[in-house]
Symmetry: C2
Subunit: 164 residues, 2 copies
DNA sequence: AGCTTAACGCGAAGAAGTTGCGTCTCGGTC
DNA sequence: GACCGAGACGCAACTTCTTCGCGTTAAGCT
């Protein structure tokens, strides 16, 4: 069935309940889709270990870019952003990325590597990717993501203001 | 009247036409709001001249952050993003920022200053601001925007890959 | 066992979205 | 100057979604 032809009565029928139940629980189709989107955007597991901070970040960024820039990914992002005016679901999406980056950072620190702040990673790697996905149809090639990672690694790797 | 209580029949009545006319022309309330949002997000005029590239960028970034992070601004951004699956309106918003940055850059070049690439400015200054506005409720203080500007000015100011 | 609370189904009423048809106006053409 | 085609709009009927009150059921607690 069509994605944008989705309606609350259809979902209710599929779920075996009446539409009023769905309306009472979620109040709106957008809120429901927003919750669904957040669930779909949740990362599967811990980011893969490639042996070095740079390799981990590059691999993660490439995968992130691919998933988020796909048609399905962009739909989920838009749904997540739209359905919740309180930004709760948007924050959740950002937290997913932050958690993954945090895990990569902890692992790198275990290897003795200098690790950039998560906030810095969000600003330098995630934000440009997301901005381009949402606002500009551009190529998010591995070369581009690698450049972003190189930027953040070439910079002050241990900022004086740790977050935790 | 309530912002989210807006409906096509209301708009049609205000415009003195029948709802079917509005539906035929825009097809959807979201598309209409998207077009309205883009119009509202259009910058008023050329960015102010403060005598130096750094001052111009800082002033522009602060104003941009204030406007976009306000309740009205975020609503417009969301409307613009949401109403157009083809991303045409989102691209338009990004182009607005790019044009402003371009103007600042041209002016700085006229002064003999080294000017960062517009793409770089978008990645380093605009993207983090927009990402935080959309995904993270954080303070977009002047200190933060200044730090973003300092980052982009401290970096390679004339990348080897000019865009135009 | 009896009570409270929350959730659901049901059905009606209201509002929004959709469509086909007729009319009008604006161009261009003979 | 009259005719004709295209596009846009109003009108109205129809479908679908959305909301709401009421009665019922099931779960948890005393």
């Amino acid at each position: 069935m069509g994605r944008d032809a989705l309606t609350v009565p259809l979902i209710a029928a599929r779920a075996g309940v009446t539409p009023s139940t769905v309306y009472r629980r979620w109040g709106d189709l957008r809120e429901l889709l927003s919750d669904v989107a957040v669930e779909r955007l949740r990362p599967d597991g811990a980011p893969a270990d490639h042996g070095s901070l740079r390799a981990d970040l590059e691999a993660w960024a490439v995968q992130f870019a691919e998933e988020m820039s796909s048609t399905a990914g962009r739909t989920y992002i838009r749904d997540a952003l739209l359905g919740d005016p309180e930004q709760g679901n948007a924050v959740r999406c950002s937290d997913y990325a932050a958690e993954q980056l945090k895990a990569i950072g902890v692992r790198a620190a275990g290897r003795g590597e200098a690790v950039p702040d998560v906030e810095t990673l969000l600003d330098v790697v995630v934000a440009p990717l997301m901005y381009r996905i949402l606002f500009r149809p551009s190529d998010l090639s591995a070369a581009y993501t690698d450049r972003l990672v190189a930027t953040v690694l070439g910079r002050s790797s241990a900022p004086p203001t740790p977050k935790s």
